[in-house]
C-alpha cells in the first residue's frame, strides 16, 4: 500500500503510533503502564477491593477542588472568614466547590476507614504486604490530619475553640507542654500565625506527605500484588507464598485494566454521583459563628469525624485523662502499624480469625457509640435553656404562688441548663420530672444547698427562702402518681420556717445593683 492511497484515518493512526513510540522511547511510559495498569491481579478481586480506589478518587477530587479553593481563599485571620462568605456568595460555583471539598473529605475518610477494616478483616496485611499496611496506616493519619486542619481553614468559632482544645491537650505534656503548644499555635496565643501555620500544613505539608505515601502504597501494591480473596484453610507461609501467588496470578489472573477495574469504575462512578448529590443538597460546611474570642456564648463542636474524640474527652476519668491523652494515641498508632509484624503468617480468612473480627466489631461499635454520644453530648449544659426552654404546662398548672416562684427559681438559677423536666432542658444532671418520688423535702434541700454527685453547691447562690420555694416546686414533681400520699414532702414542709431570715437579708449581694 503506497502512501498516496492510504486513507486519512489510517494516516492519523500511524502518526499517533509513531508519536507514542517516540514518547515511550524517551520515557518508558508503556513499560510503566504495563507494569501498573495492565498488571495481572487475582481473578476474584472484585467488590471487596473497590474502597481503596474510591479513597484515591476522593483524594483526587480534594487536590483538584483544593487547588482552586486555594486560589480564592485568603489565609489571613483577618480575611479568611470574609473570603469564605465571598466564595459562597459571589464566586460562580464557589459554594458548590466548597461543598464538594467538604463532603469529599468526609467521603475520603469513610472510604479509607472501610478500606482499612476490609484489609484487616481479610488479613491482607500479612506477608509480604507488611509495608503496604504500614504506609496505609501513615496515610490514614495524614488523611485525618488533613481533615482536622481543613476544619481550621473554616476559621469560625468552632475552628478557634477547636484550636484551643488542641492547645490545651498539647499543654498537658509534662515539661514541654508550653513549647509544644507554642509550636502548634505559632505563638503563645491563637492568632494570625496559627492560621497560616495550619494553612501550610493543610495545603503543602500534609498533601505532599499524602502524595508521597500514596506513591509508596501503590508501589508496594504493584510490587507485592493485590491479595487474593482469603480462603479458609489456605494459610500464608512466607517460605512459599510468593511463588504460589505468582503462579496463581499468571495462570488464573486477569489484567487490572480493564477486567478488575470494572468494579472500581462502577463503584467510584456511583460514589461520585452520590457525592455530587449530597454536596448539591446539603451545601458547604459553615462557616459558623465569627472566630471572635469576645463572643463568649459559643458552643464549640468538632466536625462529625472527630465527635467521638469530643465524647471521649468528656467521658475519660479526669484523673487519668492527661495520661490517656498523651500516651493513648501514640500507643494506638504503634499497635496499628505493628499489626503485620505481630501476625505475619497463617490464616487470612475471617472465619478462622474470630479475634480480629471481634476487634473490628468492637472498635466500630465503640466509635459509633461515642460519635452518637458526641452528637447528643448529654454532658454539655444547655447554656440558653434557662431563658429559652419553657416547662410543659402540665408542670406549672395548678401550682400555688410559692410553687410558681419555685418554678421561676428553677429557670432563674439555671437549673434547667443541666436538668430536664418533661424532657425539656439539659441532660447533664438527672431528669427531674418525677424527682419528688425519689427525694424527700430534706434531701432536696440538702442536694441544692450542698451539691454533690457532680452538682455544684447552691448554698451561697440561693437564699433559704429561694431554696424553700424551689423545693416546694420540685416536691410537686411526682409524676402525678403519688399525689398527696407522698410522705416526704408533706411532712417536711412544716419545718421550712426552721431557718427564718430577716427581711433585710432578702436583698442578698446579688440584688445590690
Amino acid at each position: 500500500m503506497t502512501q498516496e492511497k492510504m486513507k486519512p484515518a489510517l494516516m492519523v493512526k500511524r502518526a499517533a503510533l509513531d508519536g507514542l513510540r517516540w514518547l515511550d522511547d524517551r520515557t518508558g511510559i508503556l513499560w510503566m503502564l504495563r507494569k501498573s495498569v495492565f498488571h495481572r491481579v487475582p481473578r476474584n478481586a472484585k467488590w471487596w477491593y473497590v474502597f481503596g480506589s474510591a479513597t484515591m478518587m476522593f483524594f483526587t477530587i480534594q487536590i483538584a477542588s483544593g487547588i482552586v479553593l486555594a486560589t480564592i481563599y485568603a489565609p489571613s485571620a483577618a480575611q479568611a472568614y470574609e473570603s469564605l462568605v465571598y466564595i459562597d456568595e459571589q464566586v460562580p460555583f464557589g459554594w458548590m466547590l466548597r461543598a464538594l471539598h467538604g463532603w469529599s473529605s468526609n467521603a475520603m475518610c469513610i472510604m479509607m476507614l472501610i478500606h482499612l477494616a476490609q484489609v484487616f478483616l481479610h488479613g491482607a496485611y500479612k506477608f509480604p504486604r507488611e509495608l503496604t499496611w504500614v504506609s496505609g496506616v501513615f496515610l490514614c493519619l495524614t488523611t485525618l490530619g488533613l481533615a482536622f486542619t481543613g476544619q481550621i481553614m473554616r476559621w469560625d468559632a468552632d475552628a478557634y475553640w477547636g484550636l484551643g482544645i488542641g492547645a490545651a491537650i498539647a499543654d498537658r505534656a509534662p515539661g514541654i507542654g508550653n513549647q509544644l503548644r507554642a509550636l502548634l499555635l505559632g505563638g503563645p496565643v491563637i492568632s494570625g500565625a496559627t492560621l497560616t501555620r495550619f494553612f501550610t500544613l493543610h495545603v503543602f505539608i500534609l498533601p505532599g506527605a499524602a502524595i508521597a505515601l500514596i506513591g509508596c502504597h501503590l508501589y508496594s501494591v504493584l510490587r507485592n500484588g493485590i491479595s487474593e480473596m482469603p480462603k479458609a484453610g489456605e494459610p500464608v507461609d512466607p517460605a512459599t507464598y510468593r511463588e504460589g501467588y505468582e503462579a496463581r496470578v499468571q495462570k488464573d489472573g486477569v489484567p487490572f485494566y480493564p477486567d478488575a477495574a470494572r468494579h472500581d469504575m462502577v463503584f467510584c462512578g456511583a460514589m461520585l454521583l452520590v457525592l455530587i448529590g449530597v454536596a448539591a443538597w446539603f451545601g458547604p460546611f459553615g462557616p459558623g459563628a465569627l472566630p471572635d474570642p469576645r463572643i463568649i456564648e459559643a458552643s464549640p463542636r468538632p466536625d462529625g469525624l472527630f465527635l467521638w474524640l469530643f465524647a471521649a474527652l468528656a467521658l475519660l476519668p479526669p484523673a487519668s485523662e492527661t495520661f490517656l491523652l498523651l500516651v493513648g494515641p501514640p500507643v494506638a498508632i504503634a499497635i496499628l502499624a505493628a499489626v503485620p509484624f505481630l501476625s505475619n503468617r497463617g490464616e487470612r480468612a475471617p472465619s478462622r480469625r474470630p479475634i480480629s473480627v471481634l476487634l473490628v466489631v468492637l472498635l466500630t461499635t465503640g466509635f459509633a457509640v461515642l460519635t452518637l454520644l458526641g452528637v447528643r453530648s448529654p454532658w454539655s449544659p444547655q447554656m440558653k435553656a434557662w431563658t429559652s426552654t419553657p416547662s410543659d404546662i402540665a408542670f406549672i398548672a395548678d401550682r400555688t404562688p410559692l410553687e410558681l416562684q419555685g418554678a421561676l427559681e428553677f429557670q432563674f438559677a439555671q437549673c434547667r441548663n443541666c436538668h430536664s423536666i418533661g424532657d425539656a432542658g439539659g441532660k447533664r444532671g438527672p431528669d427531674l420530672t418525677t424527682v419528688a418520688t425519689r427525694l424527700s423535702w430534706d434531701q432536696l434541700v440538702r442536694q441544692i444547698q450542698q451539691g454533690g454527685g457532680n452538682m455544684p453547691a447552691y448554698g451561697k447562690a440561693l437564699s433559704s427562702v429561694e431554696t424553700q420555694a424551689l423545693v416546694a416546686y420540685l416536691s410537686t414533681l411526682d409524676g402525678g402518681d403519688l399525689r398527696a400520699t407522698l410522705t416526704g414532702a408533706l411532712e417536711a414542709q412544716p419545718a421550712r420556717d426552721a431557718a427564718p431570715e430577716p427581711v433585710a437579708a432578702e436583698h442578698s449581694p446579688r440584688q445590690v445593683q
Binding site: V85, D88, E89, P92, F93, W95, M96, I276, A280, W281, F282, G283, P284, I296, E297, A385, W386, T387, S388, T389, P390, S391, I393, I396, D398, R399, T400, P401, L402, L404, Q405, A407, L408, E409, Q411, F412, R416, A436, V465, E466, A469, A472, S475, T476, G480, L482, R483, A484, L486, L490, Q493, P494, R496, D497, P500, V503, E506, H507, Q511, Q513
Partner: protein, 263 residues
C-alpha cells in the same frame, strides 16, 4: 445476554453527560445546598425579630407564646398598654432586684443594648398589646407604703379568701378553684410590692386570677362583683407587704383543708 458498548451507546451516554453538565451549570444557584445570603438578624420590632428574641430570652419563664408560664404571662394587652415603655426598658435592661426577673442589658455577658431592647418592646406591643386599651384608669405603679393595711385585710377577707386561703397548701397539688396561699411569708418574701400590685390590678388569665374588675369569690364561695379602686389595690398591697415583714408562719399546724384533697 451480553452487553455491547456500541457507538450508539457511547453517543447516548455522552449526550446525557453533556446535558447533565449544562443543567447543573445553569441550575447551580437553584440547588437546595446553596447557602442563604448572610443577612443581618431581623430587627426586633419586626414580628420575626420579636418572636426570635422572645423565644430565646423570655419563653423559659413567661411561656412559649406568652400565655402560660411560671412568670406573669406577657400576652396581656391591658398590662402591656399600662406599663410605660421607659419602665419596661428599665426592667428588661436591669431586671427587678429581689425578684426572679433577670436583666438582659447593661454590661452582662451577651447583653442586648438599649436600642435593641426598645425595639423589642415595640415589637412586643405590636404583637400583643391591643389598641382597645387606651390610657389605663388605674396607674400601673405607685410608691410603696401608701395604703391602709387594715382596710386591705378586710378587703382580702371579702374578695380574696375564696381562692387564697390563709392556710398553706403543702406539697403536691391545688384543689380545683383554689389559687393557693398568697399570705405565705415565703411567697411574699420572693415577690415585690409591684408584683403584688400588678397581679391584683391585671390578674392572670393563665391561673384564672381575675383582674381588679372582678368578679371575686368570698370565703364562703359566693361571687362578689365590683371593681377594686386604686386605693383598694394600694390597701391590699400594703396588707400583704405587712405580712411579709411579719414573723414567718409557724406552720406546724398546717392543715390540709386548703388542699381539698387530690388533684
Amino acid at each position: 445476554m451480553t452487553f455491547v458498548f456500541t457507538r450508539a451507546v457511547r453517543m447516548h451516554g455522552a449526550c446525557w453527560a453533556i446535558a447533565m453538565c449544562v443543567v447543573g451549570a445553569l441550575g447551580c444557584d437553584r440547588l437546595p445546598g446553596k447557602p442563604k445570603p448572610r443577612e443581618t438578624a431581623a430587627a426586633l420590632d419586626t414580628p420575626a425579630g420579636f418572636a426570635g428574641f422572645y423565644a430565646e430570652k423570655c419563653a423559659g419563664c413567661h411561656g412559649v407564646d406568652g400565655t402560660h408560664g411560671p412568670a406573669r404571662p406577657m400576652r396581656d394587652a391591658a398590662y402591656l398598654a399600662a406599663v410605660p415603655a421607659e419602665a419596661m426598658l428599665s426592667i428588661l435592661r436591669d431586671g427587678i432586684a429581689g425578684t426572679r426577673m433577670p436583666g438582659f442589658g447593661g454590661n452582662r455577658v451577651g447583653a442586648t443594648d438599649d436600642a435593641a431592647l426598645a425595639q423589642f418592646i415595640k415589637g412586643m406591643n405590636n404583637a400583643w398589646a391591643s389598641s382597645a386599651h387606651g390610657a389605663p384608669t388605674i396607674k400601673w405603679s405607685q410608691p410603696a407604703g401608701t395604703g391602709d393595711s387594715a382596710h386591705g385585710r378586710q378587703l382580702f377577707d371579702e374578695r380574696c379568701l375564696g381562692c387564697h386561703a390563709r392556710t398553706i397548701a403543702a406539697g403536691a397539688t391545688l384543689a380545683p378553684g383554689s389559687g393557693g396561699s398568697v399570705t405565705d411569708v415565703f411567697y411574699l418574701r420572693l415577690v415585690s410590692d409591684q408584683h403584688l400590685r400588678t397581679s391584683i390590678l391585671f390578674g392572670r388569665a393563665d391561673t384564672g386570677m381575675p383582674s381588679a374588675a372582678g368578679p371575686f369569690r368570698a370565703a364562703d364561695g359566693t361571687v362578689v362583683a365590683g371593681t377594686l379602686s386604686e386605693t383598694d389595690i394600694a390597701d391590699l398591697v400594703s396588707y400583704l407587704a405587712e405580712l411579709r415583714g411579719g414573723k414567718l408562719l409557724n406552720s406546724s399546724s398546717t392543715t390540709q383543708e386548703a388542699k381539698g384533697g387530690a388533684r
